[in-house]
Subunit: 143 residues, 2 copies
DNA sequence: TTATAAATGAAAATATTTTTCATTTAATAT
DNA sequence: ATATTAAATGAAAAATATTTTCATTTATAA
């Protein structure tokens, strides 16, 4: 289940952050975009609107939203782009044709984590799992 | 099994690339470094040596080595750093304390891939799996 | 050797991200 | 409503990172 704009804003407030028009606009853009967006893409879309918005504010807002786990970055494929987070821990399936990001969950990596801890002595804290492929549309369209 | 400098150079030649002193030096640096290295770190280490080396050449060489699957990039943790590739497909275990990268393999993601394909219609081509934690040394030293 | 296509690197161009700081403003308390 | 204040904004500059251009050098093969 993807987070709604309302929910994201509520969590922001909960943590003591102010709800500025700029932040609303950024959240709206990230939530409404189907695929992932870069800071620059958000800027292109939003600046010169009402309210006007600076690139710095976008960087700062994305940083906060990421830290709170409300959005997350997509790594595979090179770019540093953002996608909206599902509420819980999840992973990404990314279309190399059109950039669509599908979240998936339910993959339990605990067993693998245990094996790795045992074999290497690492104390594992986090992980990153992404799949890259072609979505149905891009397969059909021969992208 | 990590690739040797010799093996990497052989593959380069095999694909028609020339073996320049600069490329030898870059390969040597990446192979000998225990943890991952950034282009800038390689540059700091190598320029002003014999032969002198430019940052551009480092970018270009890393790009080729990555394309040939001889080294790979580490994503988790933010940076764009490189580590030497094991010969086959593998994944990364990264120490957040000291940057050590341990390769691991033997994790079969085929079952998960099938499930995802079935559920989403994606044709999956690749994936990225990284774990982040603390290595034994960093746990002991309380980093 | 010599020929030649490939590779290099200095410099410039472009792109990305962070810092600084004067100004504005959202939220809270009156 | 109004005043207060700490938080947020954005322009500008600085700092970083990456790519392009092109004249020069060089690894390879004939
Ligand atoms: Zn995950
Ligand atoms: Zn697609
Ligand atoms: Zn992998
Ligand atoms: Zn460590």
């Amino acid at each position: 289940m993807r987070l709604s704009q309302k929910k994201i804003m509520a969590v922001l407030r909960q943590y003591g952050y102010r709800l500025t028009p700029q932040r609303r606009a950024i959240i709206k853009t990230v939530v409404l975009s189907q695929d992932h967006v870069t800071p620059a893409a958000i800027y292109d879309k939003l600046h010169q609107g009402q309210p006007n918005i600076g690139l710095v504010t976008i960087y700062r807002t994305l940083e906060i939203l990421t830290r709170l786990g409300l959005i997350c970055q997509v790594h595979a494929g090179g770019g540093h782009s953002y996608t909206i987070s599902a509420s819980g821990h999840h992973h990404h399936l990314i279309c190399s044709g059109c950039g669509l990001v599908v979240d998936f969950a339910g993959q339990n990596l605990a067993g693998l984590e245990q094996r790795l801890s045992r074999e290497t002595g690492f104390k594992i804290e986090d992980h990153l799992l992404e799949f890259v492929g072609l979505c149905q549309d891009c397969q059909r369209d021969g992208v």
